[in-house]
Symmetry: C2
Subunit: 386 residues, 2 copies
């Protein structure tokens, strides 16, 4: 535990050096209707080792295969792990597209820095991911609502038990064809808001996409399920501030005192994951509100606000009839409408509108899905794979 | 994310079924004077897979070897990992002894339950660890201060990306011969007490020995090092309550208003790891204070208190000359004296006494070391391996 910084990496991540080993046993993609999230994986994976002595090694795209690691490897003991979730979509011309990969790369580097894991040139990793998706493009389903989930992961791998900056790391990317989150219309979820379960804290790591933020949420989710709720609404502090829902960001739609519809999400206060979908919704809603890029289905007047909201305010809006919508936002579902929140023995019912989702959630899903599938000509958020 | 509980394990952990495969290539233990913590590993390891369908599989003691896991295995993504740290010591008759293994087993099960990982019969795992240590007993150094570090680890291994209770897990135990924490007398440490860095919080997981609690502490430690401190003194809240130091529990010795020496450690309030060394120090100090088991070197009158202490109190004691000692407590070092705490631009100096440690720290190390090495006849904390 010397606390010394590792020497600067000798080599940066370089996509031009990629070595490609095609699988000799290509598998058949499972039928699109049978896909379950994160259970089937494409034929190839990207692997890039790093060491503090030599920096980023030669990137390799190779057949999907197990990782072999010493049992003393720090990943098994101290949770030096972080990841991203992104997707490749097929457009109407059959071409593969990524959605805002620059946002994932930036966040991944922020997470890496927080864990004293190596950072890298995000543009280079995006190039490597494009190559990987291109090679496995037959694994990207083209049915509506289908996509290929992409999981960039970075883990510390040094084989030694000290709690120190790791001298070795492994960056890898696996991909998984996925079906639509909602097979038949929206399925609104119910949330248990239990103040005794705390996901994140000021000065903690809630704003980073670390493995460490996920395993501790599993038991609270199971406890919510035994009480008849799907997920947790994560609260913070004595005032019961709303933070996130399950593994998603949270949006609430209310009617303000002045009658204007307000789209609210908690600010990036250190406890909130800076979600790509969160950012996209805010940006699109602001474009609509300013009149620069109107979106069909959204109320003409819309106030878009990042601010704290607590359970007292949610209940007051509910009592007053001004609680219009609540939804989670994330890469897996884009939006996930909420129909009920259990809090201190009370069930707060939330309108979900026709088909199980409110107007704002539906409009946001429609617009983001259109951009992801390349239906908004030359939109800068949609990046062709090749 | 169904939230359903896994079916009850069909089979419990059963040490009587252990299968032993001796290595065909025994290695030579490195010279005792060259040992670095957690960098050399003994010839054998214990491995026990678990699945929700079949429960605990046949335990195997086998040659130390890498683990092979699918890249989608949840351990690489969501940090379902927990561990214990314990040691085997050689007594004057050359026999191997464990120290309070029941405490480690209980805590490991508590950690497993918190992560929705499988629990097990702690007595059975202790039996398996005894067998493992017995097989590698030549790897236990017998020089004073030397021991064999034992690392039981439990990880979730399901090959699927959902954030759910894992359907598969792996329990493994590796062992590592280690030298004395202090080769030549005590080396008191300096601590950076930075209120902006928060290790744990109420409703979080700070009281469990999870991998997730360790990686986030590495960068703060590096930042402390750049400011000239060895480790972090973890504070909590606006009142700057003391919680832990680095990866150890914290003890402070002060002279009370009534002139009586007070040994203080923060209570198990949900943010404090229930350390085995912490518990042992409290128990021994209480035995001394009550007169039932006096320990040489401790002040005759001693008040042993689990209570909150904040930085204001530390500074007041320092100003008044009643701050007598501060030390970390853990399995690696037993005690680790603190000589300086940096807080809000001020360096608080702490007496460390002759040889680098205060009377209480020295007496505690002496007594615990004697018990660990079997020098306190038939002490219940010391368990013969065979």
């Amino acid at each position: 535990m010397t606390g010394e910084l590792a020497p600067s990496p000798v080599l940066g991540l370089d996509s031009s050096k990629v070595q490609i080993e095609q699988t000799s046993n290509p598998r058949t993609r499972p039928p699109s209707e049978s896909l379950i999230f994160g259970q089937s994986f494409s034929d190839h994976m990207l692997v890039v080792p790093w060491s503090s002595q030599t920096g980023w090694d030669t990137p390799k795209i190779q057949p999907y295969a197990p990782l072999t690691l010493d049992p003393s490897s720090v990943i098994f003991h101290y949770a030096p792990s972080l990841f991203e979730g992104m997707k490749a979509y097929k457009d109407k011309d059959g071409k593969c597209r990524l959605f805002r990969p620059d946002m994932n790369m930036r966040r991944m580097n922020t997470s890496a820095d927080r864990l004293a894991l190596p950072t890298f040139d995000g543009g280079e990793l995006t190039q490597l991911i494009r190559k990987l998706v291109s090679i496995d493009s037959t694994w990207v389903p083209n049915e509506p609502g289908h996509s290929m989930y992409i999981r960039p992961t970075l883990i510390g791998t040094q084989a030694a038990l000290g709690v120190n900056q790791t001298s070795d790391a492994l960056l890898f990317v696996i991909t998984s064809p996925v079906g639509p989150y909602y097979k038949t219309g929206f399925k609104p979820v119910s949330l248990s808001a239990d103040p005794s379960q705390v996901r994140a804290w000021p000065g903690g790591v809630g704003q980073y996409k670390l493995g460490a933020n996920y395993a501790p949420g599993i038991k609270p989710q199971m406890q919510a399920a035994t009480k008849g709720y799907h997920q947790n609404l994560w609260l913070f502090g004595d005032e019961a501030w709303l933070t996130e829902v399950g593994t998603m960001n949270l949006f609430v739609v209310v009617k303000g005192q002045d009658g204007v519809t307000e789209l609210v999400t908690p600010p990036l206060n250190g406890m909130i994951l800076p979600g790509v979908t969160r950012d996209s919704i805010l940006s699109l809603a602001r474009g609509h509100a300013s009149g620069s890029a109107p979106i069909a289905g959204l109320p003409k007047q819309l106030r878009v606000v990042e601010r704290e909201m607590n359970m007292a305010e949610v209940m007051a809006h509910s009592d007053r009839g001004s609680l219009l919508e609540m939804f989670g936002a994330g890469t897996a579902a884009v939006v996930s409408p909420v129909e009920r929140v259990g809090y201190k023995g009370r069930d707060i019912m939330i309108p979900t509108g026709e088909g199980g989702a409110g107007n704002v959630a539906k409009a946001m899903l429609g617009e983001i899905d259109a951009i992801q599938r390349g239906e908004r000509a030359s939109h800068p958020w949609s990046v062709l794979v090749d």
